[in-house]
Symmetry: C2
Subunit: 221 residues, 2 copies
Amino acid sequence: MNSIDPDDYWTLKTIKRIMGKSPWVSLSSRELGEKLSVSQQSASRIILKLIDKGFLQRKIQDRRQNISITDAGLDVLFSEMNDLASVLEIDRTLEIHGNVISGLGEGRYYISRKSYIIQFQEKLGFIPYLGTLNIRIDPENEGKLRRLRNSTGIHIEGFVTDDRTFGAVKAFSGSIGGLECAAILPERSVYSDVLEIISPFYLREKLKLTDGSRINLAVKI
Amino acid sequence: MNSIDPDDYWTLKTIKRIMGKSPWVSLSSRELGEKLSVSQQSASRIILKLIDKGFLQRKIQDRRQNISITDAGLDVLFSEMNDLASVLEIDRTLEIHGNVISGLGEGRYYISRKSYIIQFQEKLGFIPYLGTLNIRIDPENEGKLRRLRNSTGIHIEGFVTDDRTFGAVKAFSGSIGGLECAAILPERSVYSDVLEIISPFYLREKLKLTDGSRINLAVKI
DNA sequence: ATTACTAAGACCCGAGTAG
DNA sequence: TCTACTCGGGTCTTAGTAA
């Protein structure tokens, strides 16, 4: 599943460097070829391969192509970042900032399922307060959020009931305002800027949080 | 100069993952081949290439090889880490911890050279107190120090006098205890665990530091 | 200008095998 | 077993070129 092709990684990094923050960039196959030290023809083939794999998107106007990296493509880069940081044993903690927002009460329903609760107790060491704290992550912390999504985390098995399927999720131990907690994400990447937090404590009360409150979350990856 | 071969990077990362913290590892070409999804023959060729480039060292005993990654090899990994972090625009600040040690007074001599001073003023925005604060970096922060060494930093030109040559150095803006400072490293990698700090302030006095004092340095890379 | 197909050749990989 | 050489075959790159 999570095996990256070094060539894909290298090309995506090169394209990302050219793009900077802009979502689209006008990039000819000749230009890319120069950056990668390959011919225009090879660069063209490489681009087609990456589009085929879903890592790039393209618009062609007047025989000139505009290129964008997809979320899946960015996942390649952030996974590699995580992998390298883990191999070099640096950067084990992310500090993520955001604001409290009100959820739809859905989180509470999910995490109350007995199968999840049992695993939280076993793998995180606490039984969560029956509700989630939803945090909208600052746009500047998008990169950290992407690293989190591309980290393995603590695996929480999914399960099936008569009615429906509850997917596997992954948890990351952390803390907010000195209180133990965990960030919960679906194991299948969902590109949202909202993070759901569980904790043995009712964080809204303990930390006197209301919608809009600033939050500093520290998580171990 | 600083162009990494993606294959070298990939292999070194794989070997580093196998090694963990141990300086040497017994690793047959067959085993490496499996990890890299190539044949024993190719793995053997790859190892020879990396030894030739100075990224690996090897001892052969009883037809079995023990492998170690050289400092130059680790530089490849930490450079890539820096490059990727810079492309993804994350991780611009390193927090490095260590202890004050007494220098040999050499630092004072170096940074007092007029050519250096002029450049410090121009590029860092301050004229340093005429002495350096030497910090022995905690072994746990070795990784961060390696990242620093493999960052470009602010280029300070070298120069030649009648007597001798003063090499190019690189500077990193930062702060200690809220006071502005900069870390100074030779541009040519020197693998020491001591970092030299300059500052517009006499840090020893301002922060009441003595040999052995704990220091938290924050630097921008 | 572009992109990208085709064809030919360079280069790389691994089977066989020696030491 | 191990490492690592040779060499044949297959893959991948690029030159030429069309659209």
